[in-house]
């Protein structure tokens, strides 16, 4: 208690809270007591530091709020790399003519190139992307092999029809609705083959070439509809680096293939925001294959891959699937189509092996014919 009073007195003395008389008495005591004098000096130093601290802190706050205020008013563009003006002007003066010529030549070439590309490649992005649907020959060959092996089973593809394209697809509604890429469906008719090799008739309900998604419905008495869908559809964008896996039918012998990878960029080819980039091995036939994460969420659908970069594939974001389902529900209400978006995932301990064993029943090989 005494120590406390002493320190308070010193503080009063140092901050000038004493009367003249008190001050005089204090100074005499201070002169005669070296310990007190030492305490005064020490506390004075401390108070000075505290004052400096307080002053600087308050000023820092002032500069911060001023800066934020000016920034909010648009006084400065954040992160805009301002090139050196003087240098730029010098360079500009020096290379004005060259730049003008280069620009016009460049402009001409750019126009010519885009005209050229527009003319020769109406659908795909230059030649840098490869759609992952299988070409006709491969499928034909595949059919022959199948025909050879399973003589007793008659193909459900009409006899005089030609197969045009194929890929993978997956069930999103227990009633038999299958999502695949629009570019997988090049013909007017379609069949799907489950992982046991059983062919089933399917009708094309909806195809949107812009977002590259198509909806099929299995219409076959042999189809045994499951009770529920074991995975949910992720609404939000997935995280960078998230581990993902896929199941699809890239091989010719109609064997389901598992692939593992990770999400490597949140946008797709040349910054396309409706797709994202994954590091996974994708082959023709992987088109339309679903991408899942560890939480049993469907996060996308493989559509294209970069031709030159091995292992880089692009996938359509899962929210586009939800959009499509909503669109179909709205449009086809009269025809009694009602797609149910799966809300609950089967929590089979989320063990990858169990997931795969379970999911493969929901993933189909898709063929399209005319």
């Amino acid at each position: 208690m005494e120590d406390r009073k002493l320190l308070e007195t010193i503080e009063d003395y140092l901050t000038g809270k004493m009367s003249a008389q008190e001050m005089a008495t204090f100074e005499i005591t201070r002169k005669n007591t070296p310990e007190l004098d030492q305490m005064v000096v020490e506390h004075s130093l401390f108070l000075q530091q505290m004052d400096a601290y307080a002053t600087r802190r308050n000023f820092t706050k002032l500069t911060e709020s001023t800066f934020q205020h000016l920034l909010a008013r648009g006084e400065w563009a954040m992160n805009s790399a301002l090139p050196s003006k003087v240098k730029m002007i010098q360079l500009w003066n020096k290379y004005k003519k060259v730049t003008a010529i280069a620009a016009s030549v460049g402009g001409f070439i750019a126009l010519a190139t885009s005209a050229f590309i527009m003319y020769f490649a109406p659908s795909l992005n230059g030649n840098k992307l490869l759609q992952l649907s299988k070409d006709i020959e491969v499928i034909k060959k595949n059919q022959q092999v199948q025909g050879h092996l399973l003589n007793e089973v008659k193909s459900k593809v009409p006899e005089n029809a030609t197969l045009l394209s194929g890929g993978s697809g997956f069930l999103i509604d227990p009633k038999g609705y299958i999502i695949t890429n629009a570019h997988v469906i090049k013909g007017n008719g379609a069949i799907v083959i489950n992982n046991l090799g059983q062919e089933l008739h399917a009708s094309i309900i909806y195809a949107d070439k812009n977002i590259d998604l198509a909806l099929l419905k299995i219409e076959d008495k042999d189809f045994s509809a499951p009770a529920t869908i074991p995975f949910t559809i992720r609404k939000k964008m997935s995280d960078l680096g998230e581990e993902i896996f896929t199941l699809g039918y890239p091989r010719n012998d109609n064997t389901i293939v598992y692939g593992k990878g990770y999400l490597s960029a949140q946008t797709g080819f040349e910054g396309d925001s409706s797709t994202f980039q994954v590091q996974i091995s994708a082959n023709p036939g992987s088109s339309g294959a679903p991408l899942f994460n560890d939480k049993a969420e469907l996060i996308g659908i493989i559509s294209t891959r970069e031709k030159l970069a091995v292992g880089v594939a692009f996938a359509i974001k899962s929210n586009k699937i939800i959009d499509l389902m909503h669109a179909v529900n709205d449009k086809e209400e009269a025809n009694d189509v009602k797609l149910k978006i799966s809300k609950e995932a089967h929590q089979e301990t989320f063990n990858r092996k169990n997931q795969i064993t379970n999911y493969k029943n929901y993933i189909f090989s898709v063929r399209s014919y005319n």
């Binding site: 120590d3 406390r4 320190l7 308070e8 020490e42 506390h43 401390f46 530091q49 505290m50 004052d51 400096a52 601290y53 307080a54 002053t55 600087r56 802190r57 308050n58 000023f59 820092t60 002032l62 500069t63 911060e64 709020s65 001023t66 800066f67 205020h69 000016l70 006084e75 400065w76 954040m78 992160n79 805009s80 790399a81 301002l82 090139p83 050196s84 003006k85 003087v86």
Partner: protein
Amino acid sequence: MQKGNLSTLKKLKKAYFGLLLHELSINILKAELNEQALLKGLANNDSKAVETLYKSHFNMIQHFVLNNNGSFDDARDVFQEAMIALYEKVQSDSFVLTCQIKTYLFSICKHLWLKRLHQMSKFSGSLNVEEDSISVDDDLIDFEKKDAAFEMMHYALNSLGEPCKSLLEGYYINKKGMQELADNFGYTNADNAKNQKYKCLLRLKKLFFAQYSIGD
């Protein structure tokens, strides 16, 4: 009537040109006075003065930092430090600014940024500089000393824990009275609050001086 008007107009014209000349001659003086007023405002924590300084000089620093391996955020930090250095300089009684504010701020920023580049070992050996600068070594030594003391106090205060930190900040930084603090913190009377403040103060001083004596 018309004649009278004409002569008045002539007189006015003459007066006007006289004024113009006069203005021209005092313009230089005025600029200096402006700077003085600005510094005075800065010393008194006037937010208008701070805003004016940011508006007139931050772009130059942003330009400089961006051209020398830095980001927008770096420029913001460096400029803020230079503002603090200038602010603390104008606070002292012996303050004289021997150059323009612009030159002073730029010189401080240049040195601070150079130092940071060295620390990040990003310095390429030459700076991209378009502005004039002066030697500010003494000021920088002073600034760094103050900076170190500031960090010590900051660290000491933050290691106190609550309610000590808020109580002492309330008293020494926000300059609140003990009765008000007692009410804010819910002590039954000012004496109890004073008692708590005393205990906290002892701890703070111990923490602060433990570093201060080592650092000095």
